[in-house]
Amino acid sequence: MTKTYKKLSQSIENAATWQQKYREIMLLGKTLPPLNDILKTSDALVPGCESKVWMYIDFDLTENTLLVIGDSDTRIIKGLLALILAMYNGLTPQQILTINAFAEFEKLGLIKHLSASRGNGVKAMVDKIHTTALTKVS
């Protein structure tokens, strides 16, 4: 877990109401640099979601770390993506595999946003990060 994530997640965990949580999440989203329009290709699109979610995963060979970038056309999903990125970015594949995003989201009271019922791309993103990490490890 990165330091950034710990800091960011704190504010969400501390939010007393759903409204405050969403406020924090949307603020988080605003900190995420927007993806350049030419990168918003249909290949990068997570299919089947009401909200559009684009993502790219890069592997930094020298540092042996993953770099994930992403964007969404909705504020809430974008905030959740920011959280996910903070959770994983700059970690080695080994470190990534020790992270349980579900448990983290559970802790923040956001588990429903990662559940099977949400075709919102966040879960697909987490799955893809883990799959990529796995290929780098083996």
Binding site: T17, W18, Q19, K21, Y22, R23, M26, E50, S51, D73, T74, R75, I76, I77, N120
Partner: protein
């Protein structure tokens, strides 16, 4: 059920789901266009079936089977009476979608590339894709009625369009699920019947709110789903004028729909049996019948008036909010408000509303062509029903204000 005059406080008590807290707020259920809540009476009938009557229908001669078959056929009479048609014109399906698929399949052998099938840009995907499949299989041309930029119809222009293009099949929704707009289908049906078209009406949204008299409407087919009429999931109706219904090719095949079966050849029964194979959703059918009983126990005129007033109250409040664009027609509407706020994504709005216990829906509502027509990626939809209250509207509008503040 004894007749009741309309008292919203009594009505509310009949719907157990409505009386609950969601995210620490009282639930405000504004998603009845997706599925309506069920009165306890309907739930009890379903339970009663499983606890007391449970047996398969038809052909069984033992006590339970007998009882349940009688009730099952009684249900057919009940639904037929609701629509003012004959029991043998009622086919049980699993919902409006299956009903439309059944019709489109049943017409496949009757069309060719000289035929035109006509739909509209307003349709639910369930009333589009089956016709695309039919058109692919038969070579028939698929055409859409013209729609005004605001998604209303110019009825006269549509009648002319029908007379000009002479569709063999005209398939139209009675009420738009996304907008709630009621289409004035009577003149369209008349224009189409005058040139010999078969007319299929998608009544999924209309069947409860409008209680249509199908004999008077004179359409050839009408479809609906129980779960949008206070009834259970997994059951629906296909109404078909008997002489036409009976000429459709069978759809699913198997037990009960057959007369005789040898290893290489089968003969089929007449409608409606011909279209009903396999063990049906018996609990669903009995529950559906109970829902009709419940609706009949209310005064339909009173329901309509209440819904119309509630809709006027809600729309007047919504209209006044700066930055809100409403896509629904505010006259001739069953009680659905389809809208967006500035350039905000409807997903954000519906998610924020949910945090206040307001259940609305966002997305394309299974009407992508309509979204394209309106040049939208999606919208928020708040759909009302007679069990909603003025307080629900106030809660909705107040919470909406708070959400918009969060977004601004």
């Amino acid at each position: 059920m004894p007749d009741k005059s309309f008292d919203i406080n009594l009505i509310r008590k009949d719907f157990p789901t409505l009386n609950q807290m969601v995210n620490e707020h009282p639930l405000v259920y504004l998603d009845s266009a997706a599925t309506t809540q069920k009165p306890q009476y309907v739930i009890d009938k379903t339970t009663e079936y499983y606890q007391l009557l449970n047996a398969n229908v038809h052909r069984g001669k033992h006590f339970l089977s007998e009882q349940v078959t009688t009730q099952y056929e009684q249900a057919r009479l009940n639904i037929a009476a609701y629509f003012n048609v004959q029991a043998k014109e009622i086919v049980w399906t699993k919902g409006a979608t299956e009903s439309i698929n059944l019709i489109a399949h049943g017409l496949t052998s009757k069309l060719n590339d000289n035929d035109t099938v006509m739909i509209s840009p307003l349709e639910h995907h369930a009333n589009i894709v089956p016709w695309q499949v039919l058109s692919q299989k038969t070579g028939a041309d698929l055409k859409a009625l013209p729609l005004n930029p605001d998604a209303t119809f110019d009825i006269d222009a549509c009648c002319d369009f029908i007379r000009e293009h002479k569709p063999s099949v005209l398939a139209l929704t009675h009420v738009s699920n996304t907008l709630g707009n009621i289409t004035n289908i009577a003149p369209l049906i008349n224009a189409a019947k005058a040139i010999g078209s078969l007319v299929v009406i998608d009544g999924a949204q209309a069947a409860m709110h409008l209680k249509p008299d199908l004999a008077a409407l004179d359409c050839d087919f009408y479809v609906c789903s129980a779960h949008k009429m206070l009834g259970p999931t997994g059951v629906g109706v296909l109404y078909g004028k008997y002489s036409i219904l009976n000429t459709l090719d069978p759809y699913q095949t198997g037990g009960e729909m057959i007369e005789t079966v040898t290893l290489n050849h089968s003969t089929y029964r007449c409608a409606p049996a011909k279209f009903e194979t396999g063990t049906p959703n018996i609990a669903g059918v009995l529950g559906f019948s109970a829902a009709i009983d419940y609706l009949n126990s209310l005064n339909h005129r009173e329901i309509c008036d209440y819904e119309a007033n509630l809709f006027r109250y809600a729309s007047e409040k919504l209209v006044r909010i700066k930055g809100i664009t409403i896509y629904s027609s505010l006259s001739d509407n069953i009680g659905t408000l389809c809208f967006n706020y500035k350039n905000e994504h409807p997903y954000d709005l519906s998610t924020l509303l949910d945090s206040f216990g307001i259940a609305v829906r966002s997305g394309h509502h299974c009407t992508q062509p309509l979204m394209a027509h309106l040049k939208l990626n999606g919208s928020v939809r708040a759909s009302f029903c007679f069990y909603n209250t003025y307080e629900d509207v106030d809660n909705f509008i107040n919470s909406l204000h708070e959400c918009l503040e969060m977004l601004d």
